[in-house]
Symmetry: D2
Subunit: 358 residues, 4 copies
């Protein structure tokens, strides 16, 4: 651990704390006695608010981490001997230390190639066609997409629907990892319903931590038949919080008065500023279009050195999801910068000043 | 869900919110950027503070729930084909929907009888003697004790050491479920070290949620060789929080300035008031001695009705751990009342008023 | 390992080899090329023969061991967080090193008391009534009974139906561990159908190894909806044999011309001889009635010594399932002797000679 | 299921039955009483014979299927959150319906590219270099190689040693899937020791089923510390056969008087005849060199049709492991033919006659 660059920290959206309305709701919820384990009124109220948000009956399971939300959701879709297809750089396959394998009791994630970490329906179909029907082959049972993707791109509802159509053809279920659901939503002029169940999504990991909560995610189940087991799965995985009110309170603060949408709009706007400013620096180009709150850039090594010397924090990134006509040349680096609800305009400006050089 | 009896709610210590210093620490910790996933300075500092608390090097893993803490701890001690012995009414065997079985990948909890939910070394030895050495028998690998027990009793260090001696004889590991560690500690004039590793405990679930936190537990590992796998086990179980600062902050508020001990002393004192007041009501007797913050009473049915009519909330309880010369007669009920850091003296008095009748 | 007492070996029915018709069928099946993994004609034919045997459509899965048959069968009935109730001395809970926990991914076996290792419907009901409906409690999902029981007793069809009725009331599934199915069947004048699905059994472990095969068991599924997952479960557990013909061939030899029933009748008759002869020895009494091929006796220590000195092999046994008015006094031992298809009348006579003393 | 082409069946080596010495040993072993569960003298003797065979102390665990042998072996090397690297077409990753994932409780197999299904040390090193050291990344813990490979190639001892050196550098364990161990052995003039532990192999799945047994595989453990858990793992996975003598007897017949080596030499010779004869047919070329008992050919579509019309059975194959300068053109097919101990010279001749056309 070197010195922690607080001001210019674009390493991830989870390097920031929680937003004020969320903290206030938390403090408010602490008063008095309430039933434990999510049987309190606040939890019930928050669960209902998801029905309003998605314009239909949904089953909602609040949990503490995105890893748990994803792994629990996948466990409802895939049997221990089943396959779930996802992009080869999906968070679930690459960043969760085998949580899906643990929660599903051994299911396998099968990675697909795709530009911008997007799954292409044609690739999906071709992959499924290549599988044997023999029992030696773990049968494909689900597809998981990330919204926004690990390259910061956003699936449009029609793109989701196209994937969902392949799923229906092959009797697969569709999961959406919505760790950056809010950012993807405000990037498009669509409703939560349009971006999920109306397009064919069966179950959603609704992320809230990155966008302003402390530790709060919701599993939103659109097909009620999938909800049956989650009460038990959540409990036995240690994700049923005894003082359930504190998960609910975060959502109350987060969803109330469109606070979550404002947070996401701010993050996306800051990412746009970062992208515009940095793309204007000589030798810099965007790896993928900036559609939500993440900026992926191919930069010259000397800019990389200058940014780091200036105290900027960000991560190098994998070039695997670049398009065929793009690449990282010798003397270049592919990097990711993430803006969040708490990213200050001054931090962006300061970074751009560092980038523009002496 | 009937009406929620806020004022006279003695159902559990987890029906209360969080205490003010914990909430304040949480709000304070929210400012600025910090590395994610527990690499922040606050987490490192809190982890160090456990070394001070226990007067030795320990490995510490912060998690969100007691179920996760227990199940992760047991998974480090017991292989998937191993047995862990505990009291037949232990929380781990009876209240966690199979979380230990999930985290250990199939280990079995073997319940022992014992008055007041305490494990007796002689019973432990006799049970182990009765096991076959053949591979058909899952081999015993660990013992888990609850401090305080599920009957509200406290193991003295010498009692723990006697159990640990059996463990050493048989090459078993010893886990302590310290969901009410603070209450058990202040009930005796001993140090955390004396009540754990000096008496032979290998790994501890250090509870903080019930005694004033929102959702914060620590796995404290006294044998460093047991810590090797927990980094991965915690991550893949969805218990590594991305904004790790918020788990750490709760502990900073909780442990600072002996706040946790004050909370526990208050809870124990309130339990004492409840016990003294109710035991004086005709027909009422204590099921087990009140040593920490739980009160178990055998009461006449009409008192049970009167208390409920007065709005009191508490749970009926199992008579299995009563001593041989005690029992619940027809027309009687065994009930549990729990006091917490947030239990008000007036609530106790009001309950006693209800109990004393019209 | 001391010297192996071949002649007077009554330790178990699995200390014997395979019967001639089974070996002959095996040798016959070895000729020529056949599709692998159970797609051969012989396997298909044997699977069909189970439909005839049980007078209805059944799904059949051949496997190599009884442990695998039981564990795979239970895994179709119980989810990873579910409970299966069985007798506290059932083979599945006591003798399989946690195989059910492994194959079910963590389900729990809950042991019931009962004389002669039989489950009593009233005990079953009372136990279920004592469970909480809260998610902290692993929900009961199945019952497993052993036919014959671990005390050598046989469930009559009406007794099975009474247990099945409780199962229906509580939406539980019913499994029969038929490791000694043949012995139980010929002990009564009933059909395989009457002793299983007509009485309410959902899935059966049809044992053949103990009664004359080398290593062959069949999972017989009466509810087709339960068969869906077994193709995959069997394959991933390494129980789908590549040269599947050799499992099928054993059954062809076993089931053909009522060979299995003859084997069982012989074993039961030899057990009867053992029981009659030994019960006539002064100081000896039956622990439980001899109904199939196992003999449980309470004998004086000096007889135990005499038998062992004479080279007899048998196992001491647990007294837990004795009736309330029976017990093992100081100076006595509870022992089990098992007769098999291969037990010779001379061996029985020789044992009785040893028993009758000098 | 179409008609079963017995005579020209080259679909796999497991379409054949068992060889006569194996069957004879089985029948011989059936006589008399023996201790169950592998405690019999024959099993002990066979286990000792592996020590002679490998010129050192080894721990041996007999099981019924290759899937079980591989999955149990990998489970001793890889923790539930660990990675095992293998070729992307390895049997363990592609053909076992997730058995390794089941037995390891969720470990992941990571597939590497490589010509002829061989792992290249440079590829292995580069892949390991690309992994993150962060806990989000499942840590690499083992490598599994197939001998012979899924393309029918054989690793020389020095090639194995080169892979083992990478393993030592990175603290990985090395597993060999020896489903066709005998064929790979006789293809080279080396000893079993040279091809395994002397080259750095930690644990071996010693296949015997394909080369003449009915259903018998051995897990051979070279590092004694890895054997500790296998007694329990085998039992709880239903692979500890009650009449253990019958697994042992197969090995007695198989290993005695070099029968296994003769079987393998015959199979390899038949593969050589097939390859020589078919490669001479116009338009046919070898996909990979024929080194053991499998023949991979790229053939014109019309030859494929002619062979099938003539009753030949074989499988189409994946071109993924072809070298960069080879490929399957339109109008061509890649096929696999397998010879076994039971393949008759006349069958080979008849196939060649069919291939040479009318």
């Amino acid at each position: 651990m070197g010195p922690d660059p607080v001001h210019l920290n674009f390493a991830s959206d989870n390097v920031m704390g929680a937003s004020a309305p969320v903290l206030e709701a938390l403090v408010r919820a602490s008063v008095g006695a309430m039933p434990a384990y999510g049987a309190d009124d606040l939890t019930v109220e928050v669960e209902r608010s998801f029905c309003d948000l998605f314009e239909r009956e949904v089953a909602v399971f609040l949990v503490g981490t995105g890893t748990a939300a994803n792994a629990l959701a996948l466990a409802t879709l895939v049997s221990p001997w089943g396959l779930c297809l996802c992009h080869e750089e999906a968070h679930v396959i690459d960043e969760e230390c085998g949580a899906p394998e643990f929660f599903t009791h051994g299911a396998k994630l099968h990675g697909l190639k795709g530009v911008g970490c997007k799954i292409d329906p044609a690739t999906l179909r071709a992959t499924l066609d290549g599988f044997s029907a023999h029992e030696k082959q773990m049968p494909a049972q689900a597809v998981s997409i990330s919204q926004a993707t690990e390259s910061g791109l956003v699936y449009r509802p029609d793109e989701i629907a196209a994937i969902a159509e392949v799923c229906r053809e092959r009797a697969l279920r569709l999961h959406m990892d919505g760790a950056r659901f809010a950012n993807a939503l405000v990037a498009q002029d669509v409703s939560p319903a349009a971006m999920t169940w109306r397009a064919g999504v069966d179950i959603l990991s609704f992320g809230a931590t990155k966008n302003g909560c402390l530790a709060a995610e919701a599993i939103v189940v659109f097909d009620p038949s999938l909800a049956d087991t989650l009460t038990y799965r959540r409990k036995r995985s240690g994700q049923t919080f005894s003082k359930g009110r504190f998960l609910a309170a975060q959502f109350a603060g987060y969803l109330g008065q469109d606070h979550w949408l404002q947070n996401a709009r701010h993050a996306n706007a800051m990412a746009r500023c970062l992208a515009d400013g940095l793309a204007a620096v000589p030798g810099v180009r965007l790896a993928w279009e900036v559609q939500a709150n993440e900026v992926f850039l191919i930069i010259p090594d000397d800019l990389d050195r200058r940014l780091k010397a200036g105290g900027a924090a960000y991560h190098p990134w994998s070039p695997r999801a670049l398009s065929a006509d793009e690449g990282v040349a010798p003397g270049e680096k592919l990097i990711r910068l993430v803006a969040s609800f708490a990213t200050k305009r001054e931090a962006v400006d300061d970074l751009l000043t560092v980038a523009s050089g002496p």
